[in-house]
């Protein structure tokens, strides 16, 4: 728990450092490095807990879904696609872990992956189409 908390706080500090670098316009070119490392630490610290049993595991799964979704939405709006990718994958893992613990049947599991994976694929292609259209307009 201590290592997990350590990693999450360090990650947030890195994200904050990146934000400060941009705000103060000092060595702002290091911001991507700080932001990516920070979010990686935050997401990894939550991910490391999803295998725990009981309500603790469910809380981590929910947390991963929430933090990943938030990061994905924010990064998509800001046009930062590598962070968007990290958030999306984290949110998908969180959601799938929640579903897997609720429905342990393999057949339904495969159906889940087909439906949700297909849904994410369509959403990604639509999002890319919109970004392309927005670029052409601007």
């Amino acid at each position: 728990v201590a290592i997990r908390l350590n990693a999450a706080v360090t990650g947030l500090l890195f994200v904050g450092l990146g934000y400060a670098l941009v705000r103060t316009d000092r060595k702002a070119h290091f911001e991507p490095l700080a932001a990516h490392l920070g979010w990686l630490l935050v997401l990894a610290s939550i991910l490391s807990g999803i295998g725990e049993g009981g309500s603790a595991g469910a809380a981590f799964q929910l947390g991963l879904l929430a933090v990943g979704s938030g990061l994905a939405v924010h990064a998509y709006r800001a046009g930062r696609f590598s962070l968007f990718g990290m958030g999306l994958v984290a949110a998908y893992i969180g959601l799938t872990a929640l579903a897997a613990s609720a429905v342990p049947d393999p057949f339904l599991g495969f159906l889940w992956f087909i439906a949700t994976g297909g849904g994410v694929l369509v959403a990604l292609l639509v999002a890319h189409h919109k970004i392309k259209a927005r670029k052409v307009e601007s």
Binding site: F107, F110, L124, A127
Partner: protein, 393 residues
Amino acid sequence: VRADVAEADRRYEVREAARSWQRAAAVDEETRKKIDAAFPDDRNRLGPVFRVLVFGFSLVVLQSAMGIAGLVFAAAGESVAAFVFFLFGLGLAGLTEAQLGSLKRRQGGTEAATAFLAVVLIIGTLLWLISHSSKPGDRVLVDTALILTAIVLGAAAWRWGYSIFAVVAAICVFVLLARGPFGRLVWMVLPLALAPALLRVADSARMAPSHRRSCEAIALVALVFLYLAVHVGSWDLGVVEMLNGFFDHIERPPSPMRTFCAVATALVPLSTVAWGIGTRRRSLIGLGFVGVLASLVTLRIYVHVAPLWVALIGGGAIAIGLALLVRRYLDSGPAQERHGFTAEAVFTDPEGRSALEVAASVATFTPAARPVPQPGFEGGGGRSGGGGASGEF
């Protein structure tokens, strides 16, 4: 490669070059737009992040569909399931063709996913059928797997233009050659002829861009195997001979061959760097420097001049110092250029460089897992504090 795909790739290369020229302020936006208009790209392409995500989620969907097929056909027996998977592989190969053809996809993630699963399924099921029908021995089965993988991946690389397939096919061929009677000798001689020839082909305008990239990648693979063949550690441990089934420790007395390997361990990477500088080929210079690093680590293993951490820090400091010296030397030349070289980042993609920096930092900053102290452990009160931390307990 299909003719339409090759043509689209050529146009894409020109457009990408124009983008980098614009970034380097070599051309203005108007000129870049004219180049874009002169070389229209009819393919549906995605950016790197979206491409990786689409590739990953396509694999999730396709593998889940195969999982359901596996559950359905498992009751009918393994042979039926294998045959179904083989048909599945052929179907995915057809789907890849359709995407690259009528659907005009390229660098879109989905066609790479179907191509990848197609070759995996075709190789896997054919191997399964061979091993269950003729029941060959282990040695024959491994050789068959290497030949089959090289043929299928080679054909896929030729048809669809994925360099990674060409690289894996080349690795299979080299491993197969090592299993012959003169494995190490073949690893030494073949790359010396193959690498220059492939690099010449990689510069040929008649080849499709994807084939040019594949040729360059195979040339680099060949040089890696040359280095492995002459590496003194590989000679002492009998690494090549292990691929031929000799896993017992090989006692090698001092011999002229060992001396040759010791010298070649140093010379091959340096020659690669020199070759890269002479031909202005960045991939060769990069590979050569990785080899130099590997040779220095090898030297540290054989000659205990200092603890490993001291050698690594010292090596890193020397590398940084050399880089600064070279930079200063190039910058002080007329127009910041000497002998056709410059330290300026001309025509390089800043996004790609930034991604490389992030990846390198993630790799180097990520600490190795540390054992959690067991209850009952009592340290002697180590001192800590930033750069002055002491390891005394």
